[in-house]
């Protein structure tokens, strides 16, 4: 596939895994956007998340690797232990600097750098979580003209993260789980 023109970012923490699986299950078989997922998880205890999702979804779930071009139709997961950033030439880069909001990878770091590179062609979704990561990132996505979506706190298992982002966002779409899934059914 060619370099992706559009990207969809998904950021989640505690309580977000289930809805992320549902979202990924509902996307069309072929899309031209790239999807980048970042979930907080502990780097010291490796999970097989990418592997098991690849089996479950019957499509490859890739780790976002350093200096690899972001391609359409691909679903990338941020590796635990490293911040994930997007370069102006539409490749990934990794960074092991201090955690942000106690998180590495931090949703803010990814959202902010992707927002600046993809501007209006960046869509960011923020889901359930027990901290404040992502709120600033959502703001930056909006600043650069991208689209922001926040999970309705009533639908989130843990609503701290969506609530905090809603407070600082200027124009986010707050969507129910059903609406989020509908959105994913129709992405291009």
């Amino acid at each position: 596939m060619a370099q992706a023109e559009d990207i969809i970012l998904i950021g989640g923490s505690a309580g977000s895994y289930g809805v992320i699986v549902n979202m990924l299950e509902s996307i069309p078989a072929k899309i031209s956007s790239a999807i980048i997922v970042i979930i907080h998880r502990n780097a010291k205890y490796p999970t097989q998340m990418e592997k098991s999702l690849t089996l479950k979804l019957k499509r490859p779930i890739l780790s976002a690797e350093d200096k690899v071009t972001i391609e359409g139709n691909n679903i990338y997961f941020a590796s635990p232990g490293y911040h994930l950033l997007v370069e102006p030439d539409h490749t990934f880069s990794l960074d092991i600097s201090d955690p942000v909001n106690f998180s590495r990878p931090s949703i803010d770091v990814l959202f902010e750098s992707a927002a600046e590179v993809y501007t209006t062609r960046c869509t960011a979704l923020l889901l359930s979580g027990a901290n404040n990561d992502g709120a600033y990132g959502i703001k930056r996505v909006e600043f650069f003209g991208g689209t922001s979506i926040i999970q309705d706190p009533n639908d989130a298992l843990i609503n701290t993260m969506p609530n905090s982002a809603i407070t600082t966002s200027s124009k986010a779409n707050v969507l129910k789980n059903k609406e989020i899934i509908n959105y994913f059914c129709s992405i291009k």
């Binding site: 690797e65 350093d66 200096k67 690899v68 590796s79 232990g81 490293y82 911040h83 950033l85 997007v86 370069e87 102006p88 880069s93 990794l94 960074d95 092991i96 600097s97 201090d98 770091v109 750098s113 600046e116 590179v117 600033y136």
Partner: protein, 277 residues
């Protein structure tokens, strides 16, 4: 931890201007660094110092000693002793048996930050009775980091988390056998400090300075773009003796590099390679 003030933002074009200026006035070339993380670091420094772009350029041009401070702050020196315990296990199991055959060993920890990696290597070499014939070079671009490395003094708080790593490697000795506790810090034992030479070396511009049987360069290449990665890998290739080993970070693979035909994979997920031609 330094508390950040209001976030500062610059554009990629403005970042390029700063990089250009540094090249001109200080002959430091940061043009091969990953742009997004470099930009983050420059913005962080500007926020810390409450500087705008004009202040920053002015400081680079006119303020004595600012340049060293700039390098110190834009580099990411985050490190640990025995970071990635499985890596050290594999080093001991798959690489050290081979090193046993050499009468003399030279080891290079490139981009060693504040020295933790070099000390870890020396402790592991000691455990396998290799230290008395080894000499370790620890190098970094940040003079500040090198100064800390030379001291071999780490806070008790850090040592706590390093102990967790150490215990996961599964060594015969206790971690506390290798340092002496002081008040709220520890100092790494003399035998280790004497086995390492820490010095300033810039992977962007400096060249081969010795021949090594083992080179560790972990979590440094991620800060470089493809071309610079290639340059640095070439320096490593030329610095390794035939059948010497190259160890990269867990997210730094030779797989997509032109260089990979010259190396054999010892461990794919831990990125340990052996030079074979």
């Amino acid at each position: 931890m330094v508390k950040l003030k209001e976030p500062v933002h610059i554009t990629f074009e403005e970042l390029d201007d700063v990089v250009y200026l540094l090249k001109k006035v200080a002959d430091y070339d940061l043009s091969g660094y990953s742009k997004s993380s470099l930009k983050r670091r420059v913005q962080r420094l500007m926020a810390m110092e409450s500087m705008d772009l004009i202040d920053l350029k002015n400081a680079i041009l006119n303020v004595n000693g600012f340049f060293g401070y700039f390098i110190q702050e834009i580099t990411v020196n985050v490190t640990e002793m025995f970071r990635d315990p499985p890596f050290y296990q594999e080093l001991r199991n798959a690489v050290f048996p081979y090193l046993q055959t050499y009468p003399q060993l030279r080891v290079w920890s490139a981009g060693c930050a504040t020295g933790e990696e070099a000390y870890s290597l020396s402790i592991l070499l000691q455990e396998e009775k290799l230290l008395n014939r080894s000499f370790i070079y620890g190098t970094d671009i940040s003079q500040q980091a090198i100064n800390t490395a030379k001291k071999g003094v780490y806070t008790v708080e850090k040592i706590k988390s390093y102990t967790e790593n150490y215990n996961r490697v599964g060594m015969n000795s206790k971690f506390s056998d290798h340092y002496t506790a002081m008040y709220d810090a520890v100092i790494i034992n003399n035998e280790y400090r004497n086995s390492i030479l820490f010095s300033n070396h810039n992977l962007v511009s400096d060249n081969v300075f010795n021949e090594f049987q083992l080179i560790c360069c972990r979590n440094v290449l991620i800060y470089f773009d493809k071309e610079l990665q290639q340059r640095v890998l070439n320096v490593f290739y030329e610095s390794l003796s035939l059948f010497g080993f190259l160890c990269l970070g867990t997210k730094e693979s030779l797989y997509r590099q032109e260089m990979n035909a010259n190396f054999k994979v010892i461990n794919k997920s831990l990125n340990i390679y052996q030079k074979i031609k």
